[in-house]
Each structure stands twice: as structure tokens, then as C-alpha cells.
């Protein structure tokens, strides 16, 4: 590059671009973040990137923001942390807020009503495919038996007894920590 851009701006831009082109949520933009972080700016090397990704996957929360927070902090301290997160979150969040504001304004029109009716079958199928992928991942990592036991108990707890999902997840942690090692 012929000119030097301030570090904070570079960090903001890198994550802004990766997430703008990353269509389909955080996990879809990982390769684009790799491209900015490793290939373009060389902030991390290949090994460091995969180590960071491994840590990210063992922590909860959205993956895109975890990567942004880590890399931003690594290259430019706390200002970098904020710049990377701002680049990741703000553009798409602001766009969503304004877009929904417009749609809510015309809520009563048959056009908007038709739109919100017609997205329901797509969302249902999208969720169904996500369910399938998640179930396949579960079976791949802990096998059929544990997966079916946990899923059955979760269905009872969430569907029949209406227990808060947070509590069900904590119980699943306990199952994974104490019961799976026994088998």
C-alpha cells in the first residue's frame, strides 16, 4: 500500500469488510476474516489463527465478535478491541434497525403483511436444516446414544415442563462433564 492508514482505522476496516461480505451470520464470515487477518495484514500467522479459533469455539457467544475482540486487542490494545468490534457489529445492526423501522411503519399494508406471512415457511425450513446439522454434529462428537438421551431429556424439559433453556443447558454441561466420561 502506498499510504499509511492509522492502526485503529485499519482494524475497523478489516472487520467491517470481512463482515459486510460475510453473508449468512458469523460462522460464514470466518474465511473472510482469515483473509483480512492473516493474508492481508499479517496480524496473525496461520497457526495463531487456528489456535485462536480453537479457543473461540470452546467459549460461548457469537464467533465473529470473539475473533474481532481478540485480534483487535492483540494488534492495538483496548482501542483496537473497540475498533474491531465496532467494525463487526455497527454497520449491520444499524442497517437492520432502519430497515425494520420502515417496515413497521407500513405494518398494516397488504404488501408488508404478505411479506411477513411468506417468510414463515422459509424460516421453518431454514431452522429445520439447522436442526439437522446440529444433530449431525452432536452425533459425530458424542455418538447416537448420548445424543438421543440428551435430546429426549431436553425435549421433555423444554416442551413439557417449560424449564428455562438456560437451566437445561447447564444440566447438559453437567451431563457432558460427568456422565459422558463414564462410558
Amino acid at each position: 500500500m502506498g499510504f499509511i492508514i492509522p492502526m485503529g482505522v485499519a482494524v475497523f476496516l478489516a472487520f467491517f469488510i470481512a463482515n459486510l461480505l460475510g453473508y449468512g451470520g458469523g460462522p460464514a464470515s470466518i474465511p473472510l476474516m482469515y483473509d483480512q487477518i492473516v493474508t492481508r495484514y499479517g496480524w496473525l500467522n496461520n497457526t495463531e489463527f487456528s489456535q485462536m479459533l480453537a479457543l473461540g469455539n470452546s467459549l460461548p457467544g457469537p464467533i465473529a465478535t470473539k475473533i474481532a475482540a481478540y485480534v483487535g486487542y492483540d494488534v492495538y490494545g483496548w482501542p483496537g478491541f473497540l475498533a474491531a468490534l465496532a467494525g463487526t457489529i455497527i454497520p449491520s445492526a444499524v442497517a437492520l434497525i432502519y430497515l425494520l423501522k420502515i417496515l413497521r411503519k407500513y405494518k398494516q399494508s397488504p404488501i408488508v403483511k404478505g411479506m411477513s406471512l411468506l417468510v414463515q415457511p422459509v424460516i421453518a425450513i431454514m431452522m429445520l436444516l439447522l436442526t439437522w446439522n446440529m444433530a449431525a454434529d452432536a452425533v459425530g462428537s458424542i455418538g447416537y446414544i448420548h445424543s438421543i438421551i440428551i435430546a429426549g431429556l431436553a425435549l421433555l424439559a423444554l416442551g413439557k415442563f417449560k424449564i428455562h433453556p438456560a437451566f437445561v443447558i447447564v444440566l447438559a454441561f453437567a451431563y457432558g462433564g460427568f456422565i459422558i466420561p463414564l462410558s
Binding site: 485462536m52 457467544g61 457469537p62 470473539k66 475482540a69 442497517a95 406471512l117 431436553a154
Partner: protein, 195 residues
């Protein structure tokens, strides 16, 4: 607890700390807090928000968090909501990198995270069922099932991007009621003609 800021903070903290598996698998958790527990919006509004959020680029969970916060308390609400959702895990990223080997090689932690996957699958499945039910209620059985099949083919067989599939349906949806009316009036005309 009636203070919207503390509701936002607690609700979004919970979804941020317990949501394993990336943004899309956090959606049922966010829906539980937003619709069932705190009633920030109703289920139809949540569905619309999710659909529109999918047509835009960027991480899905933070978009949803920002919108929910904005809906309740404007821009400060959006900021509080996003911060509560992402800060715990972002700070953990910064401080735990020294323990990377312990964390990513621990079989126990691996098992704990894997044990959450079936739970997430059940939650996603429940959401799929509820949206499917709503679609059938709104569109009728024949049209509902037709649109399920079309969505499945576009998403799975052709592997079109979900955002694009949603845009196609939004576009058709904009004309759906007009089309239905036109078909209806044609039928009425035909009946009158034959009588």
C-alpha cells in the same frame, strides 16, 4: 424486575454466556428471552425481525441483540443489549488466550460443549415446528406445504443462500394478497357467468 435496562442486561447476558455453536444456534435462546420471558415483542414480530436480519450481512446474533435493545430503549438500549451479549465472551477471549492449550485440549470441556449440541438441536427443531405451524395456519395446508417444498429445494437441493431465498419469498410476499384477490374475483366472475 421492571427496569428495561436490567431486563436487557440479564436476558442478553444469559444468551451470550450460554449460546454455544455460533450466532444461528443462539436464536432460540434469544427468542425465549425476548418473546416468552420478557415479552419485548410478540412471536410474529420476532419472526419478521429474524427474516429481515437474515437478508443483511454480518453476524446474526448481534443484529438481533441490537434491534431488541433499540426497540425497548432506543440507541442506548441497543448499546446495552449488544454489550451484555458479547462482552463476557470477548473479554474471555482476551484473558484466556494464555490457557489456550488447557482449554482446547481438555476432553472434559469438549464433552461439556458437545453435550449442549443435542439441546440446541431440540430448540432449533421446536422453532422450526412453530414457524411451520404458523405458516400452515396463515397460508392453508396446500399453499403452506407447497412453499415448504419450494424452500427446501432452494435451500438444500440448489443450496441457494438463505438470505437470497428469503428475499425471493419477500418479493413474492409483497404481491401475495393482490394475487389472491385477483384469483378470487376471477372465480366469482366465472361463477356469475355460468349461473
Amino acid at each position: 424486575m421492571k427496569n428495561p435496562y436490567s431486563e436487557l442486561t440479564v436476558g442478553m447476558l444469559r444468551t451470550g454466556i450460554l449460546g454455544f455453536g455460533g450466532g444461528p444456534s443462539v436464536i432460540p435462546l434469544i427468542r425465549h428471552e425476548a418473546v416468552s420471558r420478557y415479552r419485548w415483542l410478540d412471536d410474529d414480530e420476532f419472526g419478521d425481525t429474524l427474516a429481515i436480519a437474515n437478508t443483511l450481512p454480518g453476524p446474526i446474533a448481534t443484529k438481533m441483540a441490537a434491534y431488541l435493545g433499540y426497540q425497548l430503549k432506543g440507541w442506548p438500549g441497543a448499546l446495552v443489549s449488544v454489550a451484555a451479549h458479547i462482552l463476557p465472551s470477548c473479554l474471555a477471549m482476551v484473558f484466556l488466550i494464555g490457557f489456550i492449550n488447557v482449554l482446547s485440549n481438555s476432553a472434559m470441556i469438549g464433552n461439556m460443549i458437545a453435550a449442549v449440541m443435542p439441546v440446541v438441536a431440540v430448540m432449533l427443531g421446536q422453532m422450526a415446528y412453530e414457524f411451520g405451524e404458523k405458516a400452515v395456519r396463515g397460508l392453508g395446508k396446500v399453499l403452506g406445504i407447497t412453499f415448504f417444498v419450494i424452500s427446501f429445494i432452494l435451500l438444500q437441493t440448489i443450496s441457494l443462500h438463505p438470505g437470497i431465498v428469503i428475499m425471493i419469498f419477500l418479493l413474492y410476499g409483497a404481491f401475495h394478497f393482490k394475487l389472491k384477490e385477483r384469483l378470487k374475483s376471477k372465480k366469482v366472475n366465472r361463477k356469475e357467468g355460468s349461473a
